[in-house]
Amino acid sequence: MRGLSVFNIVSLTLGFAFLYIPMVILVVYSFNESKLVTVWAGFSTKWYGEVIRNEAFLDAAWVTVRVAFFSATLATVLGTMAALAMMRRGAFVGRTLFSGMIYAPLVMPEVITGLSLLLLFIAIGLDRGVVTIILAHTTFAMCYVSVVVSSRLVSFDQSLEEAALDLGCTPFQAFWSVTLPIIAPAVIAGWLLAFTLSLDDLVIASFTAGPSATTLPIKIFSSVRLGVSPEINALSTIIIAIVTVGVLVASVVSKRQIAAARRDEVLAARA
């Protein structure tokens, strides 16, 4: 359609080089034979073996996935509710406080969120562990979910819900059989976002995790502080691979849906 000028091509090339070269180096050197990460000494997959045999990593990974799964699920339920409450209800007592509490965690520095939650858990005498990390992650992730779901609800034709009520649904049936199926893609996107945020989080987890539960980012952070290690490179590569595959699959699925929608439009025009 439009041809790109030389300037634009150079910008894109440099920009994406900046974004991707560090990742590429990391991936390439994860296959390095040498213990010295910056000197190439031949191809090897031995560091992957090390990672897989490292019990501490595996334990931490398992904790991380469990935390991410439960907190994402809880955050999705709470965030979807909050989005509906914000978008569907008019004035109610404490609305301003409610919307403030939903938006504040999005811009709150993680150190403050982490610190305040830790102080709460100590004040109420809750032992720090998997449960406290789940509570903490749910709290900040639900706000992201609520933003994602809200943005879908903006374009949601409210007469669909009214039609369901008109045809005999109770408000909850209308939500379950009409609203939820239609906003499902946004809810799923919200869950994925919450899941990744939880997987990724170091700061809040560090505050709220106890000696009994360490997440993968905490583990990585403590070993990275001592410097670069080929084992961490290998672990990072595994994570990058999983994320990339996940995002690619998600985008292919959504692209298929767009293509199907186009086909439908053609069909509708002919009908």
């Binding site: 039609a163 008109d166 005999g168 239609i182």
Partner: protein
């Protein structure tokens, strides 16, 4: 005039209304969307609520469906007081302006949606859905999703879905607004046929006066939350009770003046030493300000002085050619411009009048209506 079916329960003192709206008001803050409105609608009626946007017609309909509660007054449907009855508990269904078809469900499942809420047996649901699909001529489209069918088909699915539960009352919110003109006209007749076949009471909200006139047994013209006139389409057109209604429905000439002599007809003094006559539309007092309302198609145009009761001389200012009709704008020396429309029986080349011609326009003494200000 009685309508062609002889169907006029509103004239029968013994007939029981299906809907009684009694002194209903609806306020949103300081704004009164509905202002102390009383109205009866009878079974099997095709009733149109007509008015400009913001006149309260949609609010009134949403109160019937149960989406809004009246601020004051009572609403009775089929003998049951509707106060506090949720939308899902009313034997009333609504066809939405946007159709509100569930995008994730097929045409079939959309129509079956309300039936499933009633816990109807599966075979009974299937029979009813098929019946509805036949009614709206969509037999072959049951498995399609709403976005896989055309706009006109969507409109029919929405109609079938809202009729599937055999409601006592069907509300239609601008049901044809999204269709193009030709399709809209066809669909109007389909709607009337379906209404007759099913015997359901229809209440339609529209801002399109032609649509209201075509489909309805009675039309309620609304303005600012009040009913201005409730009557059959022909009476709304021929016997408007106010200048507002006359002006809202169709094209009209309005000539302002003062009431002169009262008799079988009314004399209106509209300019120094000049008067016109028309029928009295309501009570009038001599000397009071009034308006003569006369439809353009009731006015004749001629070169020579006619003999009719009302005749004025003027100059042709403009000619609007519409194909079947031509509209002449005739400027009177006293100021007003009179619109007069003439059927084009002959070819354009043989037209009698052209711009700046001096002509006479005339109408009979019963063609116009004198309405108090």
């Amino acid at each position: 005039m009685v309508n062609e079916l002889g169907f006029a329960p509103w004239d029968d003192p013994g007939a029981a209304p299906l809907i009684r709206i009694e002194r209903v008001s609806k306020r949103f803050g300081d704004f009164a969307a509905i202002d102390d409105l009383t109205l009866d609608i009878y079974p099997r009626e095709f009733f149109a609520l007509l008015g400009p946007s913001g006149c309260g017609k949609t609010t009134l309909m949403r109160m019937l469906a149960g989406f809004e509660a009246p601020s004051a007054g009572g609403l009775v449907i089929d003998g049951q007081d509707m106060a506090g009855v949720a939308p899902n508990k009313r034997a009333v269904n609504m066809m939405f302006q946007s159709y509100a078809l569930f995008p994730h469900l097929s045409v079939w499942d959309n129509i079956a949606f309300g039936l499933k809420r009633d816990r109807m047996a599966k075979p009974a649901i299937a029979d009813r859905v098929d019946e509805m699909l036949k009614l709206v001529q969509l037999d072959g489209f049951a498995r399609r999703k709403p976005h896989q069918i055309s706009g006109g088909q969507r409109q029919r699915v929405a109609l079938a879905r809202s009729l599937a539960k055999a409601p006592k009352l069907l509300l239609l919110d601008e049901p044809l607004g999204a269709l193009d003109k030709k399709l809209r006209e066809e669909t109007q007749f389909e709607l009337m046929e379906i209404q007759e076949q099913t015997g359901t009471t229809f209440v339609i909200v529209t801002h399109d006066q032609e649509e209201a006139m075509t489909v309805a047994s009675r039309v309620a013209v609304m303005e600012a939350g009040r009913l201005v006139q409730v009557d059959t389409p022909d009476r709304i057109y021929e016997q408007p009770n106010s200048v507002y209604v006359a002006d809202f429905i169709g094209d009209v000439n309005l000539i302002e003046g003062r009431v002169g002599a009262l008799g079988d007809t009314v004399r209106l003094d509209w300019a120094e030493g000049r008067s016109l006559t028309g029928q009295a539309g309501g009570a009038l007092t001599p000397g009071a300000a009034a308006t003569l309302v006369i439809r353009p198609e009731k006015i004749a145009i001629a070169r020579d002085e006619p003999t009719e009761a009302n005749r004025v001389r003027g100059k042709i200012l403009d000619i609007g050619y519409l194909g079947n009709l031509s509209t002449y704008h005739v400027a009177l020396p006293e100021g007003p411009v009179v619109k007069c429309s003439v059927t084009n029986r002959s070819r354009l080349s043989r037209r009698d009048f052209t711009w700046d011609d001096e002509v006479w326009v005339s109408w009979s003494d019963t063609a116009g209506l004198v309405l108090g200000a």
